[in-house]
Symmetry: C2
Amino acid sequence: MTTLNETHNPQLQSWVESANIPGNGFPIQNLPFASFRKAGSQESFRPGVAIGDQIVDLAALANLNLFEGKAQEALNACRGTHLNELMALGQEYWSALRLALSRALRSGSDLQASIQPLLVPQADAEYTTAAKIGDYTDFYISVHHATAVGKQFRPDNPLLPNYKWIPIGYHGRASSIGVSGQQFHRPVGQLRPATEGGKPELSPCKRLDYELELGVFIGSGNELGHRIKIEDAPKHIFGLCILNDWSARDLQAWEYQPLGPFLAKNFASTISPWVVTTEALAPFQTAFSHPAEDPQPLEYLSSEENSKAGAYDLKLDVLISTEKSRSSNQQPAKLASSNFKDAYWTIAQMVTHHTVNGCNLQPGDLLGSGTLSGPNPEEAGSLLEMSEGGKKPIELPWGEKRTFLEDGDEIIIKGVCRKEGYPDISLGSVSGTVLKALF
Amino acid sequence: MTTLNETHNPQLQSWVESANIPGNGFPIQNLPFASFRKAGSQESFRPGVAIGDQIVDLAALANLNLFEGKAQEALNACRGTHLNELMALGQEYWSALRLALSRALRSGSDLQASIQPLLVPQADAEYTTAAKIGDYTDFYISVHHATAVGKQFRPDNPLLPNYKWIPIGYHGRASSIGVSGQQFHRPVGQLRPATEGGKPELSPCKRLDYELELGVFIGSGNELGHRIKIEDAPKHIFGLCILNDWSARDLQAWEYQPLGPFLAKNFASTISPWVVTTEALAPFQTAFSHPAEDPQPLEYLSSEENSKAGAYDLKLDVLISTEKSRSSNQQPAKLASSNFKDAYWTIAQMVTHHTVNGCNLQPGDLLGSGTLSGPNPEEAGSLLEMSEGGKKPIELPWGEKRTFLEDGDEIIIKGVCRKEGYPDISLGSVSGTVLKALF
């Protein structure tokens, strides 16, 4: 578990003025990582760290050789296009780099003159995924989501018997994961026959949905055959981003038996560019509270701190804009708000369960949390839940209604950690837009 | 569809004598690809082509600049550690390289003196996976397997209604795919509670199984959002290997609802080193025969040749050796034989279905066929089927019995295409061994 240190001092200010503006989200206590380049350029993507409205070019900083020891070694791993090399180095290196960056970016640092020329305004940048993602696994850690979706299929028995024992997960598709700004064509696929024994129809998806999730980037991995114990799990976790796991509900209903979702999920998944490290999130660690009647997890998923290792008070908001709202210059409308603290399983439990059979995780692998819905209806993490399976249309402020997504709809998800006496730590946002089907 | 050409002339002989021995499996009509190096060395892995009992070092051959045009360009893509670059070039390049290699390795070729020094005996080589595998998708294309397994759960209604419309598939884990010779520890995981509402047990898997499959390497991919039409599918398929998709049946039974298999599958999957190109397999193309009452597939999965584009008469044998059999120097015993021609869906249909929603395939992606069982009991592709879910032990010639795999068991799968008047085209073999659980 990450303990608080000088980088978490809420009084710290940066010589990058925009980082000191209350609520800017990228104060010197955050220091999230991304892979960026100048927008529209042919430059290589390269690692960067956000400070206020600027980005520190880490590849350029590495060349200046300003840091020492593990911090400089960590910087030297930032000369490629993605963060995988840095992720592979492990917690001690990430932590040393964070400390060195925190000191270098503080008001009064004698490195200001050297680093100032390496800043790139975020307004001028474009991004790719922070890591080259080898494998992507999606979990299902929100009991509220599992219950709400289960109710639509099994009203009397919504939660399956394995749910409170196993952090349920399944493999997803890595190739179609894109970064915020991703636009994708509405997927086409087979829809269930109208009558039993009838012929299915090939059609553009009619029940297209988003899923509000968090993404977890694995840092250092484990060797095939060797599990990660629950007490060691936190040091394998690099950081968190926001994930929209777009879902074609009608394709899924027809295809998913007996082997799970496939084409309903693999046409696109969108992540935020910025990855906030677990060290930056440490002040927001929280214990997941479970009703007393819930079973104690099996020993391999339990530790003294198992209820909070990789559990955060992290608020998420989903917003929508449509062709109509944009043409009339309306602000995106909020669809729902949720919080990671209402999940059932922690990130440490996800990592440990994933490897209990010896499965190897690798630096840059992405784990999805699964849809993060809260206990209340206004905290639903998908339209499937909000519209009760398409039965209850949602009214948008500009007069439109939605049960599922229409062409041109843009979904924006924002994430932020907020508490009294500490600067806001933002995960930034992820947006994605539905284009019409190529059919 | 690949047409026959001069490389398929059954009379062709090679100046590599071992390639001309009847039944050697790697005659000049085959020319399969792998990534190899000298066993036990610290050399880089690099692409090679098998001829008889030798390997042509393609990285070294590229440096000689002996070929012209697309054939030399294809060779130039063989300077890395894996075949992904060659795969990405596309069918015309693979075909040009095959033709140039066929001519260069023929008896009487004036390139013999240049190429002879580049040969490495297979006996001195070790292998890695032919490609860096980005994404791995496992299908379920054997109706006999789907029916046999379905019967164990739903005796009256074994086949789900979607089976004859959709080439059912799901995402697998790429990181734990190893090459022939892989040894892995028996996986540990949660077993279903003995009584309903009881506590599950963390235990080494008690029902460990193999799955006899073919692996399909994708060559050139498709852009996200743009599907591969059925008539274009064959040119995106680089070639075939043998795949053993190890499965933990008891872990699967407890974890797989509602999102499909996860830890039951991702602890290890083993592929053969050699990839036989679809061009080499062309003489063995066959039409899958379906009963007249089966539905016509939807139009996107149909083409004039849809019943044979990526369907081969390819025989597969599964053998077992155990600690006991090896200590008494017994030959491995045959467990079952099967043939790819008994599958329901073709490789072209797998590729087209996978991309109909816009999902992007990339060079080096691996598709598994799913367990290839034939219509008869002795053609079962897994112990789950052979032992009827563990109820009927299988007697081995040396006096042992098996329902599922024991520690020390080695499973060997061989694949070969064979017909009158043509040399045998072998896929080589894949072996893997179960080690005891680390618990």
